[in-house]
């Protein structure tokens, strides 16, 4: 394992300390219990948005703390959801009197820890669970679908609504609506290595890719031979489209999310491929985002996300945002 680290058990704290120092105009980093909050929190009268989960997905979530998005993020250990005390402490720090909305990716661990936090906190609070990954079959008898890069879209749009003064119930309803309008699927070209594990999470042959991979290097739908970018984009987009069933000609947001180890050059090439797919299927790409937003450490690969837009969602997407990783309009 070759990484920039001093000691595996200090990776998270040192990295967060660096993050806090580099973005002291936007965030404050609190340790033990650990969370990242808006520098100007609590914002009086605004619904406070809190997300969290395992680390290793940077910039998710700490990179999305700031005006127009999250009020706090709780980083757990690498690929391990945060603990209830972190969430409770964050909630206390950023609650501006209008209640707290937790945005949680659908993993057994994340959900359970947020539930325990909710039990501890009391007060006005609600939860939105994201589950946009179409690689996994949905069923009420299982854990259901994973929450992946679509979570960024939920955080952005609900963040905008909260910034504009929506109340807790409206924020929760909007979060669920955006989540329902959003589907993703990913593919890995290489594995990633959890620092404390010291060896790659999985092994792929020189000509193999993992179709439908999760954001922790979890195996996906199937392992297949490497194909052309167009063929890969078509597979992902087809799965997304089949599930989302967007209205013909309706506008959509297309997000090409890098997993960390894939160069921007290839991400834009995948965007080009996905966009051509959309054009062929009468899906109008009205908004776009290309880059590393929900990563899996240094994994090579990417996910595609499509959100069906309407006027309200488009305006929320365009609303000013000022965070470490996403910034426009301010």
């Amino acid at each position: 394992m070759k990484k920039f680290i001093n000691a595996v058990d200090r990776v998270l704290t040192e990295s967060l300390r660096g993050f806090g120092a580099a973005h002291s105009d936007i965030v404050r980093v609190q340790m033990e219990p650990t969370f990242v909050a808006r520098a100007d929190a609590p914002v009086k009268g605004k619904v406070a948005l809190i997300s969290g989960g395992g680390s290793g997905h940077e910039p998710l979530h700490a990179g999305f703390v700031g005006r127009g998005m999250l009020d706090a993020a709780c980083p757990g250990q690498v690929f391990t959801s945060c603990t209830p005390d972190q969430m409770a402490a964050a909630a206390q720090a950023v609650d501006g009197g209008a209640g707290v909305l937790f945005i949680v990716k659908n993993y057994a661990g994340d959900v359970m820890n947020f539930e325990m936090a909710a039990d501890m906190i009391g007060g006005d609070q609600a939860t939105v669970i994201t589950n946009d990954d179409v690689a996994v079959e949905d069923s009420t008898y299982t854990t259901g679908r994973r929450g992946v890069a679509g979570t960024v879209v939920v955080e952005k749009m609900v963040g905008a609504a909260a910034d504009k003064g929506a109340d807790l119930a409206a924020c929760k309803a909007l979060g669920e609506r955006v989540n329902k309008a959003t589907r993703s699927m990913g593919v890995a070209l290489t594995s990633c290595t959890v620092p404390a594990a010291g060896r790659p999470t999985f092994q792929l042959g020189e000509d193999e890719i993992e179709m439908g991979v999760g954001i922790h290097g979890e195996p996906g739908r199937k392992r297949v031979k490497l194909e052309s970018a167009d063929a890969i984009a078509n597979t992902l987009m087809h799965a997304i489209e089949t599930d989302l069933k967007p209205k013909a000609g309706a506008p959509a947001l297309l997000l090409v999310n890098g997993f960390g180890g894939t160069p921007l050059m290839e991400l834009y090439l995948m965007y080009d491929a996905a966009r051509r797919y959309c054009e062929g299927r009468n899906i109008k790409v009205a908004r776009s985002l290309v880059g590393n937003y929900t990563t899996s450490l240094e994994m090579a690969g990417c996910s595609l996300t499509l959100t069906a837009l309407d006027d309200e969602l488009t305006k929320l997407w365009d609303h000013p945002v000022r965070t470490a990783a996403l910034r426009w309009g301010v």
Binding site: G54, G76, Q77, V78, F79, T80, S81, C82, T83, P84, D85, Y107, A108, G109, M112, N113, E115, M116, A135, V136, E137, Y141, T142, T143, R146, V194, A196, A197, R199, T201, F202, G214, H216, G217, E218, P219, G220
Partner: protein
């Protein structure tokens, strides 16, 4: 004043997890996200780092240990093993001395895991070790087996139950995302449960009058 049984149990559990952390992580790499051993070790290291636990009656120690896991582990195993221990501790305010007390403790613990995990036996999780072990304990008690026989029976039950998770298809936890590809691998949480059962049984066996 150190509580002898509490101390023995904590030491045995901590050692079992530390010694197998790498293996647990390996199991989780196959059908999860490769952190189970790291998670459990972080939690049991924190327990080891709290010497005051060893001075408490078992019930209180279990509750505190469970809370430590909840606060230090995260992931699925933090709330689940944490709930297990907290519920067991709550069920026995002092030190359990009778098999029936232990059985009640375990039953409470298992119920808490099921509730927290919205899961049950048969879903390829830690419950697939805990539930059969609980049933075995009930069986041994009802046939009035000796303490030694009972402990040996629990270990055998845990071993067999662990092995039975291999052919299962996961429907809860991270492995469930794999669908059929979860088949053919041991469940990491089942393995850590089996390790803990062994550790506990061995520690209790050692404390039995020869």
């Amino acid at each position: 004043m150190a509580h002898e049984l509490t101390r023995r149990l904590i030491d045995a559990a901590v050692t079992a997890i530390r010694d197998h952390a790498d293996e647990l992580t390996g199991l989780d790499q196959a059908i999860g996200d490769g952190d189970h051993g790291i998670n459990m070790k972080r939690g049991f290291d924190a327990i080891a780092d709290a010497p005051e636990l060893k001075t408490l009656p078992l019930g209180d120690a279990l509750q505190k240990a469970g809370m430590t896991l909840v606060m230090k582990v995260g992931g699925a195993s933090g709330p689940l093993f944490g709930s297990l221990l907290m519920a067991m501790g709550k069920a026995v305010p002092g030190d359990p001395t009778q098999g029936e007390q232990v059985q009640a403790m375990l039953a409470e613990g298992i119920a808490a895991v099921k509730k927290r995990g919205k899961s049950d036996a048969g879903e390829k999780t830690m419950l697939d070790v805990l539930v059969p072990v609980g049933e075995t304990l009930a069986g041994e008690l009802s046939r009035h087996a000796s303490a030694k026989e009972t402990l040996a029976g629990l270990c055998r039950a845990a071993d067999a139950a662990l092995e039975r998770t291999r052919p299962m298809k996961a429907s809860k936890g991270r492995a469930s995302f794999l669908g059929d590809r979860s088949i053919g691998h041991l469940d990491p949480g089942a393995r850590s449960s089996q390790l803990l059962i062994h550790a506990v049984c061995d520690a209790v066996a050692e404390s039995l009058p020869a």
